[in-house]
Symmetry: C2
Subunit: 304 residues, 2 copies
């Protein structure tokens, strides 16, 4: 490999990191736009703005380890939303290196990505999660996906307009990249990953999930450009379809009973994140940035 430890040697990594940083800012702009647009939902509040906070990490042994930008919104449409980007590098501790592709013999890594989670006030507006990332060890791959979690049982069905729109947008993104993305496989992967085994229930209504995406299959991924184009499409499609879904639901009035149902559903979200989500557990157990890792937790949850 040209190198996990020498990312500067591969301009493709810098290009991806730049694009991720831009994606974060476009998400910030789009969501702040929605905050301004829906003044009628809760007029006494000002439209929410993201608080953007840079952070840096130190790798094992005190070496520089990169960092990122945390962006948190607490607004009138979104009760809590995080949209983070990061570019980190260093060496995995031996106990983790063995489980990461291409890191067993050489634990050095470089990784960049964007991660978004939105918890709207209204029970009618679904919670959404999106993540795109590029990881470099002696192997090189993209990963990510986007999935939708409607809050009310009556709307957690495939025939609901939100589910139809979301699946159509993610399938379309896959269809535009034949040979790279397989919609059926990525949808099944999403359903399998976002599943609460102890309750035998799905977290949401699905979407797409993919990992270790390297269409060429070689260590330098000669199909990088095609894979990156798909990942960019996922990010762009996410902004468009989620904005559309928010607009379709944000003005609908809601009752306290619906709020209660939303808070119970959010409890299931907490259960998933702490019991199953690999990123959360990995981050917490390896001394990651607690504020950033747990920013995905809902502002209020109930187990009545």
């Amino acid at each position: 490999m040209s190198g996990a430890a020498e990312p500067g040697a591969d301009p493709r990594l810098a290009a991806a990191a730049d694009w991720f940083g831009g994606l974060q800012l476009r998400i910030v702009a789009a969501m702040e736009g929605l905050e301004r647009e829906f003044g009628d939902v809760d007029p006494p509040r000002e439209p929410g703005r993201f608080a953007i906070e840079p952070w840096s990490r130190t790798d094992a042994g005190g070496a520089p380890g990169g960092g990122g930008r945390m962006a948190m919104l607490r607004g009138r449409l979104f009760e809590k939303m995080g949209a983070h980007c990061s570019t980190v590098f260093g060496a995995f501790p031996p106990e983790f290196a063995k489980d990461i592709p291409g890191a067993a013999a050489d634990p050095r890594f470089w990784a960049a990505g964007v991660s978004v989670i939105a918890h709207p006030w209204s029970p009618h507006v679904p919670t959404v999660h999106m993540n795109v990332r590029l990881v470099r060890t002696t192997k090189l791959w993209f990963g990510g996906g986007a999935d939708l979690t409607p809050m009310l049982d009556a709307r957690r069905v495939e025939s609901d307009p939100d589910a139809v729109l979301f699946h159509a947008a993610m399938r379309a993104a896959c269809a535009r990249h034949p040979g790279v993305a397989d919609a059926d496989r990525f949808e099944a992967w999403c359903d399998e990953y976002f599943f609460l085994r102890h309750r035998n229930e799905r977290r949401g209504i699905g979407g797409i999930f993919f990992d270790h995406l390297n269409s060429a299959g070689d260590s330098d991924n000669s199909a990088f450009d095609a894979d990156f184009a798909f990942v960019r499409d996922v990010g762009d499609s996410f902004i468009a379809v989620y904005s559309d879904i928010v607009r379709r639901n944000a003005s609908q009035p809601w009752s306290l009973r619906e709020r209660e149902e939303q808070c119970v559903r959010r409890g299931r979200y907490v259960e998933f994140n702490l019991l199953y989500d690999r990123g959360t557990i990995f981050g917490l157990k390896t001394g990651g940035n607690i504020a950033s890792i747990l920013s995905s937790m809902p502002p209020e949850a109930r187990w009545p």
Copy 2:
């Protein structure tokens, strides 16, 4: 061993299971008494009563596996409280048997116990957890403990009267059973167990925790009576000291700011239960009774 699979052969197991069942009912009576006593905290509500629900389990292969009594209270003093007893038996699945003392060669087990968790409405009344249990494999041991979690930062200190009372009661229970209970060791064990590593903070102010208690050290525990007497003392001391702590705090008015602080603290309780608590994770991953296992989750929690 006379046998995990033939508990009837050992009258001591039946005696412990009977005592656990009685302890549950005495806890129910004591807490319902507090609900009646503190009508002033929220007059429009009726004093809460426990809903008691028997459940049974099936062991692997469809064999009878015992069961228990779930008791849940949703009252005016206690927003949510669970006080459960169970007596279960069967054979551990091979992947768990290897990690359980005395079960590697013979996976049969019998276990009985009581588990209590209280989430009061008032931020001034601490959350409490108590568990006592007896486990039979080819070995035989008691386990359990009790720990207190004050909700407000200002009261999460060793000098607070609630902490002083709670520690004194648990230390006294240990002191009455020399040769069985070591207060210093059981307190240190509690502090070590109820610790959120990812936040580098204690869950509460401690208490006592003990496991694999078998003072004789032989497979039939010839010191069973002495160990059981200590465990009974823990259960009885818990009822007395927690009732006292509730009475000292229940009438104090609280603000919305204090309620918010309580809900944030409860979020840490959720993090502990889902990330670290062996009983919770073991139960969820082995198809236990979800309703009973997750009844410890707070009714409302916040991650603002």
